[in-house]
């Protein structure tokens, strides 16, 4: 069997395309994933044109809030590229230099201020986008919605804070500037105290009226004390308290690495074993080999062994490459090995079943792609993303192929968070045995056709 294994490795070495597939592919995947997960999601570049006159202020009761905070707030969320005018903004969007252009029109503050009048106008900001494809359109919409929500929240909080300051002034008293002149505000607390102090001096018949004023001042003070946090809550009335009913999940970068490893194993191992077995038929060597030189079982074992060995080497190569970008827990190497070996065994046996059922390498390669790619994509569909019936069907379908348990096993091997590794490993072992049995059956047909 070792001579057959050496022969297959020799054949691999002789094929530049396969060499590229087996060596360059994992390196490429490692680099892509590495770059993607080792960098902060970059701030989108947005062309920014602020037409608001300097010194404009947002009205808050009798006072005014400076408007300069709004643009600062926006530019903390995106990378603002200042542009001189509307034409420049449009040009930047058209050329793809920026994701979108945001224009704060000159009348924005006036319109904001009109909200507190009898003739309210809707404040609008102008957004210029180039929705060249649906994905970009969706991404731009999501970004703009998030951006405006944050800007609205910021403004609401500013107004709430200013409102709260005025309430404090009414309750506790203090100084307030009107047209540059300080005005003293007595406040409800001091008013009630003064009235209480004056009460004995007031004639008996008029005390009932005075008591009503004192009671009002006390009640107003007490109730306005709690109004300030209430106003603050109005800015963001609903808060989120997220509680997960599942086990803690591993970080996104670990999931991305596991998905890349599972995908690499899928293509490398599945295609290699299926193609290698089909090649014996294409080269007419299957009958010669099994005509007394090796048993069919030994040939099958050799092919599966080849797939596992190459799959292991390629996946470890990929993980080693990713180590440049992410700190992997090498102390869990034993678990990595178990996950990779069983995942590779699952894919290798599935590849053997495919290879035993196809007549030539091209046909089996096409078949392997047609089966594995959709199943790999379906395996990534989360629950709740599709209807319950469809999700159940996807679960059954993906459970019949090694990708999903391989992904789960690799994720569990790479990171202790999340579900355990035992279940996926058992699942992979069962699939490997089932596919090996199927391949053995298919080989009988292989020999007689």
């Amino acid at each position: 069997m070792r001579w057959l294994l050496l022969k297959d490795l020799q054949l691999l070495r002789r094929s530049p395309l396969q060499a590229v597939l087996l060596v360059a592919y994992p390196i490429l995947i490692a680099l892509l994933i590495g770059f993607a997960i080792s960098r902060e999601p970059g701030k989108p570049r947005v062309a920014f044109l602020n037409e608001i006159p300097s010194g404009a202020r947002i009205a808050a009761g009798d006072g005014k809030l400076p408007a300069v905070g709004v643009d600062k707030r926006i530019c903390s969320q995106v990378e603002c590229v200042d542009v001189a005018d509307r034409a420049a903004a449009e040009a930047k969007v058209r050329d793809g230099d920026v994701l979108a252009a945001l224009i704060l029109p000159a009348d924005l503050i006036d319109r904001l201020n009109s909200l507190g009048t009898l003739n309210p106008e809707t404040p609008e900001v102008e957004v210029i986008v180039n929705e060249e494809n649906p994905l970009k359109a969706q991404a731009v919409d999501d970004r703009i919605t998030a951006l405006l929500s944050q800007a609205n929240l910021f403004i609401a909080r500013q107004i709430a804070a200013e409102g709260g300051r005025y309430l404090n002034l009414i309750v506790d008293g203090g100084n307030f500037d009107v047209l540059g002149q300080p005005v003293e505000i007595l406040g409800l607390r001091a008013s009630a105290s003064i009235l209480k102090a004056l009460r004995p001096a007031v004639p008996e018949g008029q005390r009932a009226e005075l008591d009503r004023v004192i009671r009002f001042a006390t009640l107003a003070r007490d109730n306005l004390d709690v109004a300030e946090p209430l106003i603050d809550r109005l800015a963001q009335p609903i808060a989120v308290d997220k509680q997960s009913i599942s086990a803690p999940t591993p970080p996104l970068e670990i999931f991305a690495i596991a998905a890349a490893a599972a995908l690499t194993l899928t293509f490398v191992t599945l295609l290699l074993v299926a193609g290698s077995l089909a090649l014996e038929r294409e080269e007419n060597t299957f009958a010669r080999l099994t005509g007394g030189l090796v048993s069919r079982g030994a040939l099958l074992t050799e092919k599966i062994g080849l797939g596992i060995a190459v799959g292991l080497a390629v996946t470890l190569l990929m993980l080693a490459g990713l180590q440049l970008f992410v700190d992997l827990e090498w102390s869990r190497f034993g678990l990595w090995l178990a996950a990779i070996l069983l995942a590779a065994a699952g894919f290798a046996c599935a590849g053997a079943a495919l290879g035993a059922g196809a007549r030539d390498v091209r046909a089996v390669s096409l078949l392997a792609f047609m089966i594995s790619l959709p199943i790999a994509l379906l395996s990534l569909v989360p629950s709740g993303a599709v209807g319950a019936g469809l999700y159940d069907a996807i679960r059954v379908l993906t459970a019949l192929f090694p990708f999903k348990p391989a992904l789960e096993a690799l994720t569990a091997a790479l990171d202790p968070a999340g579900p355990g590794i035992g279940g996926p490993l058992l699942h992979l072992a069962i699939l490997a045995l089932a596919y090996a049995a199927l391949a053995r059956l298919a080989l009988r047909r292989f020999a007689t056709t």
């Binding site: 022969k7 020799q10 080269e283 007419n284 060597t285 010669r288 005509g291 030189l293 020999a447």
Partner: protein, 242 residues
């Protein structure tokens, strides 16, 4: 049928079915050491099925095969070679798989025997059809089998390559190797086969020399006896209802 006392290869009442179709119907066959036996017959007669069963790559549904003098070498119709390995690598691989005592020595011997020494480092995919067939045969001969089975060995070869091939095969038979080959070329069967086994619809119709077949034709289809061997053979088949 040839006498079985000294047979290098014997088959008894071989039956093979593919579903409802009976590819072989109780075929008997024997080959003596050094004998060159041609298996001929129309398409679908069961020639390749018979050779595959004799080679052990296909199991019969009934009957048995015996090769008392040792291994049977098999050379399939289409070259069973790894095209991305060199001539030498192919030979060495199969020599090792046959667990020969001195695989490299056997490879050298086969390279000499087949005249492929100078092409040993060439990828098989770069060889001509004739040279590929020589490598194919060399692999069948690696274990120095007592019997060599060749399934249409001259298909795709030009006349010169064909002549060299038959010279080589005749040399093997001269050395004591029993050679059994199938062919569609009746003239080739007449020229190189010391014995002919005629199969039609899975039945063994005739087993004897080319002269004996001509004598049978003279007896059964005298109108065709004066023509060439191929015409006589066709008349014989027609007379037998095939």
């Amino acid at each position: 049928m040839a006498g079985s006392a000294t047979a290098a290869l014997e088959a008894h009442k071989l039956v093979k079915r593919y579903g409802a179709h009976e590819a072989l119907r109780g075929v008997n066959f024997a080959a003596r050491p050094g004998e060159l036996v041609a298996v001929i017959g129309p398409n679908g007669a069961g020639k390749t099925t018979l050779l595959s069963i004799l080679a052990g790559t296909l199991r019969p549904d009934a009957g048995r095969v015996e090769s008392p003098n040792g291994d049977v070498g098999w050379v399939p119709q289409q070259a069973a070679l790894y095209r991305r390995l060199t001539v030498e690598e192919n030979l060495l691989l199969f020599a090792r798989l046959e667990k020969l005592g001195d695989p490299r020595g056997s490879v050298e011997e086969m390279l000499r025997l087949t005249g492929l020494e100078e092409r040993r480092g060439d990828l098989v995919s770069r060889l001509s059809g004739g040279n590929q067939q020589r490598v194919n045969i060399a692999i069948g001969l690696l274990g120095r089998p007592a019997v060599l089975l060749l399934d249409e060995p001259s298909v795709g070869l030009d006349p010169r390559q064909r002549a060299r091939l038959w010279e080589f095969i005749a040399g093997l038979a001269g050395g004591g190797t029993s050679v059994v080959f199938t062919t569609h070329d009746i003239q080739e069967a007449e020229r190189y086969g010391r014995r002919l086994l005629v199969l039609a619809d899975g039945e063994g119709l005739f087993d004897g020399s080319a002269e004996q077949l001509r004598a049978t034709v003279r007896e059964e289809a005298p109108e065709a006896a004066g023509g060439d061997f191929e015409t006589a053979f066709i008349s014989y088949l027609q007379h037998r209802g095939h």
